[in-house]
Symmetry: D2
Subunit: 156 residues, 4 copies
Amino acid sequence: EGGRRMSALEEGTLHKVQYYETDQMGVVHHSNYIRWFEEARAEWMEAVGLPYARLEAEGIASPVLSVACAYRRPVRYGEIARIRVRLTAYNGVKLSVAYRVEDAATGQERAAGESTHAFLDSKTGMPLRLRRACPELDEILQVQIERDREPEKNAE
Amino acid sequence: EGGRRMSALEEGTLHKVQYYETDQMGVVHHSNYIRWFEEARAEWMEAVGLPYARLEAEGIASPVLSVACAYRRPVRYGEIARIRVRLTAYNGVKLSVAYRVEDAATGQERAAGESTHAFLDSKTGMPLRLRRACPELDEILQVQIERDREPEKNAE
Amino acid sequence: EGGRRMSALEEGTLHKVQYYETDQMGVVHHSNYIRWFEEARAEWMEAVGLPYARLEAEGIASPVLSVACAYRRPVRYGEIARIRVRLTAYNGVKLSVAYRVEDAATGQERAAGESTHAFLDSKTGMPLRLRRACPELDEILQVQIERDREPEKNAE
Amino acid sequence: EGGRRMSALEEGTLHKVQYYETDQMGVVHHSNYIRWFEEARAEWMEAVGLPYARLEAEGIASPVLSVACAYRRPVRYGEIARIRVRLTAYNGVKLSVAYRVEDAATGQERAAGESTHAFLDSKTGMPLRLRRACPELDEILQVQIERDREPEKNAE
């Protein structure tokens, strides 16, 4: 269990490119990277013990407020992408996540992106403070944001 | 209003091919035709005065029971597809629909398909008899199935 | 290698349901099953040693001639689908494949489908006899179609 | 012709929300906005007389370098979105485009985004200077960027 968690947090999500994800330029259509970010986010939440399906079941929705992606090199059919996830900001009501898409075989960067998210009451649509609505997730995010900041600290 | 209805029922739905619908074979990916069928069905329901969004709002869901498509010639980026809809069976609880995908410019057939649909209570998930649940739609389907059968009768 | 091949051929392809695959009915949108068929087909070809990317690189395209799917029970977010592939017909120029979509956790059937495929010269678009164009794939298909028929024979 | 061009440039692209674009949150999945941007861009190019399909036919590819979207309010099934396009930068080798997604019925803003694009030789993949590769498009972009800047000038 701990091993799997490590794996998912440290090694990111592997995504095998599907034919239906390509376009007639012969590469993965750029809109799919936004879907891969979601896939990697979901994998991350599962790894920390809080699958998004469970969050929804508890009446919490987490809509995307913004998304951005910079495309460096195309990803092609026959390749496996690795999507790495890193928390960049969390203040109790809003979360920012950064992504790095790599070729799994070589580690070469293919794209980088970020997204921001709110937490809402599924019924009322009103913003939630996670510390009250889901203290378990709040704590996980607090701990993780510290860890994800560490590489930067060490780099100083 | 009647004019628009005529147009939608007689002339089908026009769909401009999008770049994101192509794949690296340089044609529209086959899964998108299934989506175009849905698009044409929705357009049809709007044309007869019963938008699917309204049906859902009244607590009726209409899941797809089956779908099939035969691909004759590829559809390409830069083309506009016309999707024609024809009812082929309706017995009060189940509906069958046939589709013909054409090149709008030439009328050339590109694909043909069909789908079948049930009507369910959105809350309970239990099958509904439309005559009770939505007599308006039941009558529309009864009338339309007669009309759509006529070409076959005339052909006899 | 043999182990992996066994696994892919006997146990099918696992597909974790993605949030972007759901629709507002709260289930996986029916068009995605057609994409899962393709995903399972690609996995199958990889398992027998002939990834579709390699086929394309050798100048062979394999367009979908037809597809069909019968939806038994919805697949939901949070679930993992298993897609089983079985060859049902092959005559040297055309291939038929059957699919069974199950809930990976329980083995419960969720959908069943089939597709047919041709083999074309990528440049000319002309049909190919696989025995000449790619004897390796021809033999694999010949062997596999015999195996996939066996359960039926044994059932007699 | 001039009328249609006016319409497309001034009034943006209308996109009827499709059921397959919704997710189980009951709104359009955020990845689809990125596809709508592409749709509106293509419509824009057609309006200025240079359909993207023709550009590709002339051996020019225009890959997406980056994309971003800020989601203000959800778009729902049953609605029609209007996507407005505005050029924000063009230097002969790179183009920046801004988007505003509105509810067509009320004009209410739903999302805003931008994308940047390069121009490449389809065969070599090398960057192109549009003034040489396609002087017609270069001039159109030069003229349009002036026009799109005017509102800002007037606002000063």
